[in-house]
């Protein structure tokens, strides 16, 4: 075992939250997220549902290493991220986490291929490798024919596919989708979710944050969040996740 590579055993959960909470100092103190315990194994597909202001975004920011919890322990693939420096957290984010945003966040003046390759820019020194990986990721999301299109010429669904390809290009441990269908009509949303589920079928660990119960219902694990309090639903139809 080399020291920098963690064992990819199923025994190490991708995400392990132990009493993780986030509050913003007051007065009065705002408890955005009350202590949460959550464990995600490799290949899990979790939906986080809840109305706006419920603490969904706070949870996403904590999971995406964009914010630090006030208390509790967060292990990402077994690594305690609280002990890391900001630079190490940034590197870990780049290597291990893929983001899909509601607003896509594609750079308008770069081609689809360049946008996807950007996902590897800060972690991979090899240009050719970056471009090959980007092409492969775009093919995976069904956009192999639009490599050199600018985002402005793509439809909403295609843009979100590019964003998904960017999230995948680094082969992350965890893909975080923040309202991935929020800007899409329902037909397009369904096809994007089909893609997300196809990817999940290949073994990717997914967290989808949504306020749409239809989207949330498609996941094999569901938690809902209300006023910072997390509750897991035991799905009746999919008993094997228990």
């Amino acid at each position: 075992m080399t020291p920098t590579v963690l064992p990819a055993t199923e025994a190490v959960p991708v995400v392990e939250l132990r009493g993780v909470a986030k509050s913003y100092p007051g007065p009065p103190d705002v408890h955005a997220l009350l202590p949460v315990d959550l464990t995600l194994a490799q290949g899990d597909y979790l939906a986080v549902a809840g109305p706006s202001g419920s603490g969904k975004s706070t949870l996403l920011n904590l999971l995406g290493l964009l914010d630090r919890p006030t208390s509790g322990t967060f292990l990402l693939s077994g690594v305690d991220v609280a002990a890391l420096s900001e630079g190490e957290r940034t590197a870990l984010r780049g290597h291990r986490i893929g983001f899909v945003f509601q607003a896509f966040h594609l750079i308008a003046y770069r081609t689809a291929l360049e946008n996807v390759a950007l996902g590897r820019l800060y972690t991979d020194a090899d240009r050719k490798e970056r471009h090959d990986a980007a092409k492969e990721a775009l093919r995976r999301v069904g956009l192999g024919h639009r490599l050199h299109s600018l985002p402005t010429t793509l439809s909403g669904g295609e843009r979100q596919r590019v964003a998904i390809a960017r999230a995948l290009v680094n082969c992350p441990d965890l893909v975080l989708c923040d309202e991935p269908t929020g800007n899409l009509d329902s037909a397009t949303a369904a096809s994007v979710m089909d893609l997300v589920e196809e990817l999940h079928a290949t073994g990717i660990t997914l967290i989808v944050i949504t306020h749409d119960p239809v989207i949330a219902a498609r996941a094999n694990r569901r938690v809902s969040i209300l006023d910072g309090r997390l509750a897991e639903h035991r799905p009746l139809t999919v008993p094997e996740t228990a």
């Binding site: 020291p3 920098t4 963690l6 064992p7 055993t9 025994a11 190490v12 975004s57 920011n61 995406g64 964009l66 914010d67 292990l75 077994g78 690594v79 305690d80 002990a83 890391l84 630079g87 190490e88 940034t90 590197a91 870990l92 984010r93 780049g94 290597h95 291990r96 983001f99 945003f101 607003a103 966040h105 750079i107 308008a108 003046y109 770069r110 360049e114 950007l118 996902g119 820019l121 800060y122 972690t123 020194a125 240009r127 960017r166």
Partner: protein, 419 residues
Amino acid sequence: MSLPLGRFRRRQPVVAPSRLSGRDLVEESLAGVLQRPGRSLLTMLGTVLGVGAFVAVLGLTSTATGQIGKSFNLLQDTTVTVNDIGASQQADSGNGQYDFPTDTDSLLARLNGVVAGGVWWNVQLPDATISASPFSTSDAASSIGLFAASPGALAAMQPTLQSGVLFNSFHNSRGEHVCLLGAPAAQLLGITRIDNQPAVFVNGTAYTVLGIISNTQSLPQTLLGVIIPSATALKEYGPPSDNPAQALIHTRLGAAQLIARQAALDLRPDQPQLLQAIPPPDPTSLRDAVNTDLSGLFLLLAAICLVIGAVGIANTTLVAVMERTSEIGLRRALGARPRHITLQFLTESTALGLLGGLIGTSLGVTTVLATALDRHWTAILNPVTVLPAPLIGALIGLLAGLYPALRAARIEPLDALRR
């Protein structure tokens, strides 16, 4: 098997740190600059004007002063005089001294860069009578001077002959009684043609007139006089008394300074201190004097343009940072460290400055060349000012980008991505 990796992970990097190579940095920055070419061009305008003005002012000044130095006095630039200071010191004693060797002409002619050179002096004769007939004492002729000149000095004067010929080294070496007349002197003496071999009488001694000189480039005072060969003058009247002899040297263009340094030693290697060569004013020092006067104000204007350019770049970069907040947030989410963001925006502003500097330098050089062509001048561009000019633009861009770039690095990905 589940090891508590959190315990001993502390000193080991979990993953390789984020990276960004210079090439990737430049590529990302250029894409940023080129995304809005129109705006980038407008942003560069201040730098273009500033650097362009800088290059044009320096180029035009050096071209113009070069031209001044060149046309200032072509004649003076090619004339060296050698004074007989040994004779000047002896002048009080009354007995004339003459420190030039007899073969001065050939000694000077062998110097590389000399076109012609020789000795001349004003022959002072008490109660001299100069006339066209042996016994006439016309008042009009009393203003006519008597000059002695070697054939070399004669050539160095660059005379224009109206008629006849110049005397040569043959006449000089034999001490022949021949002379040349300046056109005004000839008129005063009533001599209009030389084909009847007229003579001029100096205190009764006849000198055959060989030619009449209508004009000279140097020593115009000889036009109102009679010029006899220097050897003849020495034989007849002895060395010059009141006005010491002088050597007049006509050099090739650019050789005057060199000849001035060599002349005394060449003529009198035994006692060079007896002679003193006077070079023409050095064109370089003249040029520098003009330079300082002219360009100061324009350089100040160029500096003001550069400051305006810097403000322009700073402003645009700041606006770009605001506009691209979500891009910055995205890059941070994708693993970019704050320093990568800083470097990217710094490189963008530096590239803007450098491009502006390059365009400005081109425009400046074009201006100088066009002006020089229009005036038929020689364009003079100093590489020391032209080559670093684009770098001035780059420096302006770098400085202007500092604040926006540091501000960009402080943007929290959290806030940026929520937009």
